[in-house]
Amino acid sequence: MVLTWGIPSESPIRRLLDELDVLGQPYVAVSQRHFAETDLKLTIDTVGNLGGTLTYQGQAYPLTEITGVYLRLVDDEVLPEFQQLSADDPLRIHTRRLMQHLSVWAEWSGCRLVNSMPAMASNNSKPYQAQFIQQHGFLTPDTLITNNPDLVTDFCERHKNRVIYKSISGVRSIVQAWNPRTDAEKLVLIRHCPVQFQE
């Protein structure tokens, strides 16, 4: 049985479920928004083999029957149902624990997993991820991250002002082309927070 966990209406999950229907393969598609109707009980035996049960919308699924997993999780905080919960709502604790259990089981059960949580975390730092891209033989653009405006001016001149700037992390990932006329005067602001520039 295949387990998908995320927002089932998103096209990658939707297409996977359509294909599983065509193949006649059994699956359970957990919607992350239905955290209140989802539970994951984990067990281990004496030598550390993982087992347990996934309960989703009243139906129980032994974890040993799940052989493949596709995770496409979003941050709980963006789920409307989660945002409505007060800070001390027990459902918040339940949801956090649910994600922790999912993480433990997905990483260590040995079943086939697409989108391991730690692997996805490299999205949190573009230059960190770029170093892995380099290690695999791909070229990456010349990149400067700094809080020193003079270094940026030199970098832009070296690249004939054909430069973009963008966030270092995975948030507000908006790419802007460097405009020497209008952006140079704003450069002093990077003293407060380093910025990433690329050829």
Binding site: L42, T43, I44, T46, V47, G48, L50, R96, R97, Q100, H101, S103, V104, E107, W108, M117, P118, A121, S122, N123, N124, S125, K126, P127, Y128, A130, Q131, Q134, L139, T140, P141, D142, T143, L144, I145, T146, N147, N148, L151, S167, I168, S169, G170, V171, R172, H192, C193, P194, E199
Partner: protein
């Protein structure tokens, strides 16, 4: 240079720095707090055809180049740009993400062989395993664990704040006294499986024996005294020699 990165309240990092300096005054050892990094006069991190590099110039004018650093002992778990808390919470969160993403990449340029407790994208504080993962790996390594698994997630309920016994695994070597009912081999296996080159294992007494309750990549260094200092100096004598099977002993301990 042996570089220790830590938070201001980290007394074990200060202890380690002082003992390393006392034991080998000729060895350059620098300790840097989170605040010194956050308020650095200049940070420069480059990636590209000419290699990946960084330099940091502190407020006191001291400059740290990538090539100056032979070993980093990373005790940072998160860089918190606290001054930004005065602004919009979204701005504070954004700057926090940016700073942590920068230092994750910057430290990664050193390579795993120069980093004790290399940062991961999940945590700048390295390979963080949840208590349930720790105990799962411990069971697989042959260590006894408490009967209730998975353990409750709140830190207070994982085990005693001060464990009954602890050992340190540093780069495949065990320091400290192995508690009754525990084998050194299982401790080493757990450290290996967890992917940490610096891991402190915690045990709680249960009747005449002990059970494993958790592990941390932020060890209480002072528990291991001279044994740890000597081992670290030997490990770092030739700079980036971590991970190699043949090591040249430091002259003071050869």
């Amino acid at each position: 240079m042996l570089l220790i990165l830590c938070h201001l309240q980290d007394v074990d990092a200060v202890w380690l720095c002082q003992r390393l300096r006392q034991t080998d005054p000729d060895r350059p050892v620098l300790i840097l707090s989170m605040d010194e990094l956050l308020f650095a006069r200049e940070v420069r991190h480059t990636l590209g055809r000419e290699g990946n590099d960084f330099s940091i110039t502190l407020q006191n004018g001291r400059r740290i180049e990538k090539d100056d650093v032979s070993i980093v002992i990373n005790r940072l778990y998160h860089l918190d740009p606290v001054v930004w808390k005065q602004t919009d919470p979204r701005q504070y969160q954004y700057v926090s993400q940016e700073i942590n993403a920068l230092y994750l990449s910057l430290l990664h340029t050193l390579g795993a062989d120069r980093l004790y407790n290399p940062p991961t994208p999940v945590s700048l504080g390295g390979r963080h395993l949840a208590p349930a993962e720790c105990q799962l790996l411990a069971a697989r390594a042959g260590l006894p664990i408490p009967p209730e698994w998975p353990p409750p997630e709140s830190p207070q309920s994982v085990g005693p704040a001060i464990p009954d016994a602890r050992v340190l695994v540093l780069d495949g070597q065990l320091l400290g006294s192995v508690p009754p009912g525990i084998t050194a081999e299982a401790c080493l296996t757990l450290a290996q499986q967890s992917g940490a080159n610096l891991l402190e294992l915690h045990f709680m007494r249960q009747d005449a024996t002990c059970v494993f309750v958790g592990a941390t990549v932020f060890p209480t260094f002072h528990h291991y005294g001279d044994e740890l200092i000597h081992l670290l100096l030997n490990r770092t004598t030739n700079g980036s020699d971590l991970g190699h099977t043949e090591r040249i002993a430091h002259p003071a301990f050869a």
